[in-house]
Amino acid sequence: MKVLVVDDEKDMKTLFEQRFRKEIQKQEMNFVFAFSGEEALRYLKDHVHEAVLILSDINMPGMSGLELLKHIKQDFTPPPPVVMMITAYGDDENYQQCIQGGADDFLTKPLDFNLLKQKLKTIM
């Protein structure tokens, strides 16, 4: 299963590649990166038959994470890919919006990689 990380911050790619270097080398995990909602949507449409888990930031220029979530849950049925939302502000308002939008899980920045790894393993 591929994990599509959607974040406008390019350093997120470096961070994931460093943190999961071993898992990537051993091909236990496979990450792809998109730096906007639009790019993520294009990737998903181009890889309809791939099992993809999406980790998306909320606040992004252009298509926001919540809009991306809405598209994913509407356009990719059945069943839509699993989406975990990531936000820099772990407040209730964001959490409620994500859950109402159909998000499967919710994480806050700075990321707790041990927790993330555990969640990813469970889903995979």
Partner: protein
């Protein structure tokens, strides 16, 4: 004799007129009227009885008496000229009658010559009466003028009194208006100060929230990269251990890796500190997402005083304080966001415990007795619920008191407080719950936070 009767009659009439004009006196007016009537009656009787000899002397006496009255009474001083006019005539008549009545012959002869004196006396009388008339006229004019002056003076006095009354009234109105204006100015100044404070707080809140949003993302990377770097140094250490490197080099490399790891841990530790500050700052811009619900304030306050107390006890076993609770059992449940109000209680209780702990340390150093007490009071008021949180700790100075609700203001040492607790609490109480938050304090003695929450939201 007829002359005496006529003069008596005329002089009495004159006396009455003078008194009526200048010195009105009903009693005297009545007596004079009786005298005039008496003169008339006696004259009538005299014409009937013909007691000429007796009557002649009687009328002389009456006339002299009347003249005497004019001289005696000061009220009749204005008529003296008239008396002076008629007096020679009266005296000539009297002297003539006396001379005639004497048995001496030469006096009788002299009395016949007295008849020649009458024209002189009458001429004198007419001249003086004319003069008197003129004087009377002048006097009357003067009197009228004086009356007019008096009237004018009275009018002036009345006008002056009226003006003084108006001035007093106006002054009183002006004083009252001045006091009202002063009060209004004071109110305006106070409102302005409050508005400035609110505006300052609001703009500070917006500013901090804006800064926080901008800082949050890079800070997340600092924290995550430092964490990953720690793991990477562990990996590196592991790799070096498995490599065939000579021992001194291995020791040197391990020491360097250890330092790098330690540095990354420090970066991560301080990054987390900054993260908690930024998260606190963000609370300023965030609307409460919690729902208001009917909450038992006594229970909520008790829950958080215990939480705060035991939280501090867990960190520091030597920490101790007396919890003094006074809950109003008649308190109704009120509509609040329990999580938000819990945060307020937690901030206030933690501050109180911090303050009593500081004071305890000071007192211990000075070897003075001290019992740290943190009190909580709840009270049901008419439309509000009052919560007071008091401690007998360090208290606050006036300068500190002015700033305590400003974001980032803290008296705690660096790293121990973000300075956001009270400003967030203030926002929660005033903005989210429409309540009030005030402080009573005495430096070195106590601090008391008073929360007033509307009973109906």
């Amino acid at each position: 004799m007829f002359l005496e009767i006529l003069l008596s009659f005329l002089l009495l009439l004159r006396m009455r007129k003078t008194l009526r004009t200048f010195h009105p006196n009903p009693k005297w007016d009545k007596y004079i009227l009786y005298a005039i009537i008496g003169v008339g009656v006696l004259f009538s009787l005299d014409t009937l009885v013909h007691a000429d000899e007796f009557a002649k002397w009687f009328w002389h006496i009456v006339l002299l008496a009347i003249v005497a009255v004019f001289f005696i009474r000061d009220e009749l001083i204005t008529d003296r000229l008239i008396i002076n006019a008629v007096l020679p005539l009266i005296l000539i008549s009297l002297v003539g009658d006396i001379l005639e009545a004497t048995p001496i012959k030469i006096f009788k002869t002299l009395s016949q010559y007295m008849d020649y004196a009458y024209p002189v006396a009458i001429t004198w009388m007419i001249a003086l009466l004319v003069r008197s008339k003129k004087q009377q006229k002048v006097l009357l004019e003067e009197r009228q003028k004086r009356e007019e002056d008096l009237k004018e003076y009275r009018m002036m006095t009345e006008r002056k009194a009226e003006l003084e009354r108006l001035v007093t009234e106006r002054t009183s109105e002006l004083v009252s208006q001045k006091e009202e204006l002063e009060q209004a100015i004071n109110d305006l100044k106070s409102t302005q100060a409050q508005l400035v404070q609110r505006e300052k707080m609001a703009s500070l809140g917006e500013l901090t929230a804006g800064i926080a949003h901008e800082i949050q993302n890079p800070l997340n990377f600092v924290n995550n990269f430092s964490e990953v770097s720690v793991e990477l140094t562990d990996e590196l250490q592991h790799e070096i251990n498995s490599l065939l490197v000579n021992e001194p080099d291995k020791i040197h490399l391990s020491a360097v890796i250890k330092d790098i790891r330690s540095n990354q841990e420090k970066i991560n530790y301080h990054g987390k500190r900054a993260d908690s500050i930024v998260k606190g700052m963000l609370l300023h811009s965030r609307k409460s997402s919690g729902q208001k619900e009917q909450t038992d304030i006594n229970m909520l306050a008790d829950e958080y005083i215990q939480l705060s107390y035991h939280g501090l006890r867990a960190k520091d076993k030597s920490f101790n304080a007396t919890l003094d609770k006074h809950y109003d059992e008649t308190l109704d449940k009120i509509n609040v966001v329990p999580q938000d109000m819990g945060r307020v209680f937690l901030n206030l209780f933690t501050n109180s415990f911090y303050s009593v702990t500081e004071k305890k340390q000071q007192k211990e150093e000075a070897k003075e007795p001290y019992e740290p007490i943190v009190s909580v009071y709840t009270k049901k008021l008419v439309d509000t619920t009052e919560i007071r949180i008091k401690d007998n700790g360090m208290g606050m100075s006036r300068e500190i008191l002015d700033k305590i609700f400003q974001p980032f203001f803290t008296t705690k040492p660096t790293g121990q407080g973000t300075g956001l607790g009270l400003s967030i609490s203030y926002d929660i109480v005033t903005k989210i719950h429409g309540g009030q938050m005030t402080v009573n304090t005495e430096e070195g003695e106590f601090a008391e936070f008073v929360l007033l929450l509307p009973a109906i939201n």
